[in-house]
């Protein structure tokens, strides 16, 4: 058994394409209803000049309301899905007949679709809000710069910094099987850029994972140590008076 293989966790997406247009359609309707109400309220103002002045601002508001309702409807569908089949840790057969795997794929596809739209928002807090609604325990002052975080069974503590392009995965493919396992990033730890966190990894308080390295299944990164390499190994202790080596 070689524990270093981590791969992405989705192959069969075709069977859930029907979800995307429904989601977009649903979230367009509340926006138009809100605006209908709004304009009826201000109907004595209406003339072409008012429309011209108001349209640019209203388009921005449309966008904001649209992405908010998209998130809400996705959350509603997720609650329904979770009522039918609760997310579970463990090993499942990678087969659409398997109930656990089927629901896992539907859930992750739904979340990824919404997160992809949220990724085009200029400020990072929208993404944190979306992740929190999708079941990641994450605090507001986490630095998720441009990283990808899976949802479910992931806990991210205070003051964690995730580098750009880093991936936190809660699942991986093992041949014909899929493994789902929790990931815990304790408070104050730092994950370097371009690094990959495998399912089951536990990062202790204040530990550091270097750039471009990955952890293997169920690895534990020790407190106050820098870890580095493919797969990550304990490298050296974090010193208090850390300085650049002078030439």
């Amino acid at each position: 058994m070689n524990p270093i293989i981590i791969t992405n966790n989705l192959v069969e997406e075709k069977k859930i394409y029907w979800l995307y247009p429904i989601l977009i359609w649903l979230s367009f309707f509340p926006t138009s209803l809100i605006y209908l109400f709004f304009f009826n309220f201000f109907s004595f103002w209406i003339d072409p000049i008012f429309i011209i002045c108001f349209l640019p601002i209203s388009l921005v508001l449309y966008y904001l309301v649209f992405i908010l309702f998209l998130l809400l409807f996705a959350k509603l569908i997720l609650i329904l899905l979770n009522m039918i089949n609760k997310p579970k840790e463990g090993i499942f057969q990678r087969n659409f007949q398997d109930k656990n795997y089927r629901f896992f794929v539907i859930r992750t596809c739904l979340k990824r679709f919404v997160l992809k739209i949220y990724n085009y928002f200029p400020l990072p807090w929208a993404k944190i809000l979306a992740l929190r609604l999708f079941g990641v325990k994450i605090s507001n002052n986490t630095g998720i710069l441009d990283s990808f975080i899976d949802s479910d069974f992931i806990v991210i503590g205070d003051n964690v910094i995730l580098g750009e392009g880093s991936l936190v995965m809660n699942s991986m493919i093992l041949g014909d099987y899929l493994l789902v396992r929790k990931v815990i990033l304790n408070r104050g730890c730092t994950i370097g850029a371009f690094s990959v966190i495998a399912p089951g990894t536990i990062v202790e308080e204040g530990a550091i994972l270097g750039m471009g390295s990955y952890t293997y299944l169920n690895q534990r990164l020790e407190k106050n140590y820098i870890h580095f390499g493919r797969p990550a190994k304990r490298w050296k202790k974090i010193e208090d008076n850390f300085t650049f080596s002078k030439k």
Binding site: F148, G165, I226
Partner: protein
């Protein structure tokens, strides 16, 4: 195909721009693809006829359908352009010199420019079928990549049929069989042949022209066939579970004491001065958008509505000279206002950056987490500002402007003829020479440690840094250095001129060792002598 989230994913084309004439082609594609949208808008206007409640009700649906029409027309027009250009110059495999005079390099760049617009347009609302069309037609060197059915490619990994390496551009066909799974952040080099049912692990890179056998698992850097091929040979799930439970304890909850403050903004590291950051962001956003929006309103009310939308019928748009010119000129005016918006972001970003520099000049050194002095606060404030400008320019359809933006704002310098792909660049203290190729890399001038340390990075002329490599703060790279994919420097490392480096931590290799390491033969710097044939000994394990 999977649809991942991060910035590095989905179909992508290079930002190589050999000559600025290509931008004319590019703007013509944008121009043509907006025209059908305007006609659709005319019908929408006819339906609503100043009925305000109907207008408001139908606007979301109009936006959705208008977007779909824009996507389809831009895909069709770009495909037409591609076909005509491929008729003029047929895309070829081979090794070409990375100079503007080389016809193959020239047309490679032209193809990338044409492919850019449909990919950019179709990424906003992720539709599965556009993803498929983009990866089949418009991905970088899609002419040379053959995907099988039921493939999943991980986040951040790149499948490349073309690769810039030292002074050369190498193009060779890539074949991927059915049911292949490629892990995240891995690199598939040109010429790779992958069989059926292959699994490739995380952060692994294939050698040049390597063949991967069917029904097997590969991992590592350089990639190797694993001896234990036992994931798929387990008969039942119980057996796998038994063997895995020896390594994984599913009931281990010993590290669950994570303290979260979900409701309160503690503001320990980042958000202490959030309101000022947001104020500056809002000001830049408002000021940069004000001129284009006012211009579009003026254009719309004076020309577009009376002369185009209020035409009595569709036929009169094409017969009336004035309304026809308004119809033709509208896309161009939209493009110009968009560019004014981008330039406005750069200009106002520079203005605020200068004001911040006046209060606190930027310096290299070590900043402390605990006592947050003025240096620390202003470092984050400056990086917040430049991050927005960078985000705006890099995600726009004109990513070539990033060089202009970097040379204007901040203290970075980027030389001529330098190509910057969709990369995570440092915000301050970066010096890049001429004729440099930076792939999808990370360049960081600060290091998160016990403290925050900031140090300058210098990259010399003719340097090539390939995908998924990271450059740590304080690194000095001299001229003509080539870094392989997935190579990572340690802080304050110095790379000597005219050499090749690979792996983590970096190892310097000679020309002779190149064949072993990457299956690439560069004995003579003569493109005709580079072997493109597969060497049998490198994949017989």
């Amino acid at each position: 195909m999977s649809t991942p989230v991060s910035i590095h994913d989905g179909p992508f084309t290079t930002n190589t721009l050999v000559s600025k004439i290509f931008l004319v082609f590019y703007s013509i594609i944008i121009w043509c693809s907006i025209l059908p949208l305007l006609l659709e808008l005319y019908f929408f206007w006819k339906i609503i006829e100043f009925n305000i409640s109907l207008f408001i009700c139908l606007l979301p649906i109009q936006i959705y359908f208008g977007y779909l029409i824009l996507v389809f027309t831009s895909i069709l027009i770009a495909k037409l352009f591609l076909i005509t250009i491929n008729l003029i110059h047929k895309p070829k495999e081979g090794v070409f010199k990375r100079i503007n005079q080389d016809p193959d390099y020239y047309f490679w760049s032209l193809r990338a420019v044409i492919k850019k617009w449909p990919i950019w347009v179709s990424k906003f609302i992720p539709l599965p079928f556009t993803d498929k069309i983009n990866s089949r037609w418009f991905e970088n060197d899609s002419e040379f990549i053959k995907y099988g059915k039921n493939i999943s490619i991980g986040k951040g990994s790149s499948v490349k049929a073309s690769m810039v390496f030292s002074d050369f551009l190498i193009i060779k066909k890539v074949n991927i069989g059915e049911n292949v799974i490629i892990g995240s952040n891995s690199f598939i080099a040109p010429g790779t042949q992958i069989g059926k049912n292959v699994i490739i692990g995380t952060m692994s890179a294939t050698k040049f022209s390597q063949t991967l056998k069917s029904d097997s698992i590969y991992a590592g850097f350089p990639i190797e066939r694993l001896k234990n091929q036992d994931y798929s040979t387990y008969d039942s799930i119980e057996k796998l579970r038994e063997t895995l439970t020896s390594t994984i304890n599913f009931k281990d909850d010993s590290c669950d004491d994570v303290k979260l403050n979900l409701n309160r903004l503690q503001g320990e590291k980042f958000m202490k001065n959030l309101k000022y950051d947001l104020l500056i962001f809002g000001l830049i956003y408002f000021l940069s958008n004000a001129i284009p929006i006012l211009g579009i309103i003026y254009f719309g009310s004076e020309l577009f509505i009376p002369f185009f939308l209020q035409n009595p019928n569709l036929f009169s748009i094409f017969t009336n000279v004035l309304s026809f010119t308004v119809f033709l000129l509208t896309p161009l005016i939209l493009i110009i206002f968009y560019i004014i918006n981008l330039l406005g972001v750069i200009f106002f970003g520079k203005l605020f950056y200068r004001i911040m520099l006046y209060i606190k000049p930027s310096e290299e050194g070590i900043l402390d987490w605990q006592n947050k002095d003025k240096d620390f606060i202003y470092y984050f404030r400056r990086s917040f500002l430049i991050r927005y400008v960078k985000w705006k320019v890099q995600k726009s359809p004109f990513p070539w402007l990033i060089k202009f933006a970097y040379n204007n704002i901040g203290n970075c310098q980027i030389g001529r003829n330098t190509v910057i792909e969709d990369s995570f660049l440092a915000k301050e203290f970066l010096e890049v020479g001429n004729n440099v190729y930076l792939g999808k890399v990370l360049i960081a001038t600060h290091l998160w440690d016990k403290n925050l340390s900031i140090k300058k990075i210098i990259i010399g002329d003719n340097v090539v840094i390939q995908d998924n490599s990271c450059i740590a703060p304080g690194t000095e790279i001299e001229e003509n250095v080539s870094l392989f994919p997935l190579s990572i420097t340690v802080k304050c490392e110095k790379l000597i001129a005219n050499s090749f480096y690979l792996n983590t931590p970096l190892v310097k290799i000679s020309n002779e060792e190149l064949i072993n390491a990457f299956n690439l033969n560069l004995y003579d710097i003569n493109p005709k002598k580079i072997s493109l044939k597969r060497d049998e000994s490198y994949y017989n394990y």
